[in-house]
């Protein structure tokens, strides 16, 4: 047995989970799909006294279409979203999920678990940022909504309070006049990204860029939006010059950490190259969708 001993609580409702959490702060950890937390437990990098397992709460699982977009329960498995008709309604989400780990990981791994874990090299936080997703959070008696922009605070740190549980995430639908793409560089398929970029681009009838979003991952303590580069794209023809300008602004603004996998300079370079590449693909998708 590798983890340190813990008490195990398996609530059947969000209310039961919140009550268990209230009683055990700060000694409890929430267990979602376990694809990040279980390795941390096995390595004893975290030693909670109480583990609250959300896997028995059926109300946290499911995909609903609402006026605002796709509402996805926090405990919905990544593989389910990948195979659902979400592919048509929110294709960038399905595309991003295919880059997460491997099939066996995605069978257990959840949408909410990945977002709350907030690994800076993970794909879903960048998708949530690019789409301006909303995080519906439950606390004893009071629910609140946290916009994606305010959710990711720092390395593995979110705006979620110790007594809160993520209930669902609302991903706005990508408008039909928009194109989207995700590009990342990894050593092997399924590895965490050395650098990655999510792009969403909208063109007007004249073919000019009216909206551009760039969310980068693997290059800062959290996923980040490249706002300056986004603004510089508005009103421009989606040509190579515009994309290289955006890439240069991204390179300018980043100061990524260096580690065993890649130096800071290399990450920066890769992020810029991927920015130009992902924009080109997003524009192509946009044109294909308008045909």
């Amino acid at each position: 047995m590798k983890p340190a001993p813990f008490e195990y609580v398996a609530p059947h409702s969000v209310e039961e989970a919140l009550a268990a959490l209230q009683q055990s702060i700060p000694d409890a950890r929430i267990l979602a799909g376990g694809q990040s937390l279980m390795p941390l437990l096995n390595l004893r990098l975290t030693k909670p006294k109480i583990l609250i397992d959300l896997n028995g709460i059926s109300g946290l699982e499911g995909i609903r279409e609402t006026a605002e977009g796709l509402s996805i329960g926090a405990m919905t498995r990544q593989r389910r979203v990948e195979r659902d008709s979400v592919r048509e309604r929110c294709p960038i989400l399905a595309e991003a999920i295919r880059h997460i780990g491997h099939v066996a990981i995605r069978h257990r791994g959840t949408i909410g678990g990945s977002l709350v874990h907030a690994d800076p090299a993970a794909e879903l936080p960048a998708v949530a940022l690019a789409l301006d997703a909303k995080f519906e959070v439950a606390r004893d008696g009071i629910d609140r909504t946290i916009p994606a922009e305010e959710f990711f605070i720092d390395y593995l740190t979110t705006a979620l309070a110790p007594d809160e549980i993520l209930r669902e995430i609302v991903f706005p639908i990508v408008r039909p006049s928009s194109g989207y793409a995700l590009e990342e560089v990894t050593r092997r398929h399924g590895d965490f990204a050395i650098a990655g970029v999510v792009a969403i681009v909208e063109l007007d009838d004249a073919g000019k860029i009216v909206d551009a979003r760039l969310a980068l991952f693997g290059v800062a303590p959290t996923a980040v939006r490249a706002r300056k580069a986004e603004r510089a794209l508005i009103g421009r023809e989606p040509n190579a010059d515009a994309m290289l300008d955006a890439a240069a602004l991204v390179e300018d603004f980043l100061d990524p950490p260096g580690d065993i996998h890649a130096s800071s300079a290399y990450r920066k370079h890769v992020a810029a190259v991927l920015t130009a590449r992902v924009l080109k693909r997003a524009v192509q998708v946009c044109r294909d969708r308008r045909l």
């Binding site: 590798k2 583990l51 491997h102 099939v103």
Partner: protein
């Protein structure tokens, strides 16, 4: 110390009961309490894929599940694979493929590969080499260089396709 719990699970069509500490992984339970040592533990952090099993019909890393979470679950491990062979064959076509094409050397990673492929060939009976390599990216082998594993999968896919028995029977739950 955390209190032990009773669990009931079905592994390879046989029912088992166990008394487990919450921190016991499903992989350790299968190996140490049930004696099913075919499921191998490499990294115990979800990277190597050696401990892959079918959990309620889906591949999972058994090192990343707790035994308590498997209460009521139906599990298939490598020990249950040969029983799914047809025509009186001693091995499932996927296993036979590894034998024919020398898809293993030390054999440590093989159970994880077999279980991953069992799910894969059920979903995709005639995969391309690229599709095979992508699906196997979650399983690490330090001996073969993967060439012979890919050849084994192609062999198995062809054998399954040739079989006069409906393919689905090889993967019946």
């Amino acid at each position: 110390m955390s209190s032990k719990r009773t669990i009931e699970i079905t592994v390879n069509e046989k029912r088992y009961e166990g008394l487990v500490e919450p921190r016991l992984s499903l992989a350790d339970f299968l190996r140490d309490q049930l004696g099913l040592t075919g499921t191998h533990l490499g990294c115990e952090q979800g990277v190597c894929g050696s401990c892959t099993i079918l959990f309620n019909g889906e591949t999972v890393r058994s090192c990343l599940l707790l035994a308590v979470q498997a209460n009521g679950a139906t599990i298939l491990t490598v020990e249950g694979l040969a029983a799914k062979a047809k025509n009186g064959d001693p091995l499932h076509p996927i296993q036979q493929g590894f034998l024919e094409k020398l898809g293993f050397q030390c054999g440590f990673c093989t159970p994880g590969f077999l279980m991953t492929l069992y799910e894969f060939l059920n979903e995709n009976p005639s995969p391309s080499e690229d599709e095979i390599r992508e699906r196997l990216s979650g399983n690490l082998c330090r001996c073969t260089g993967y060439q012979n594993i890919v050849a084994a999968v192609l062999w198995a896919a062809e054998r399954l396709g040739q079989s006069r028995i409906d393919n689905g029977n090889y993967f019946a739950p």
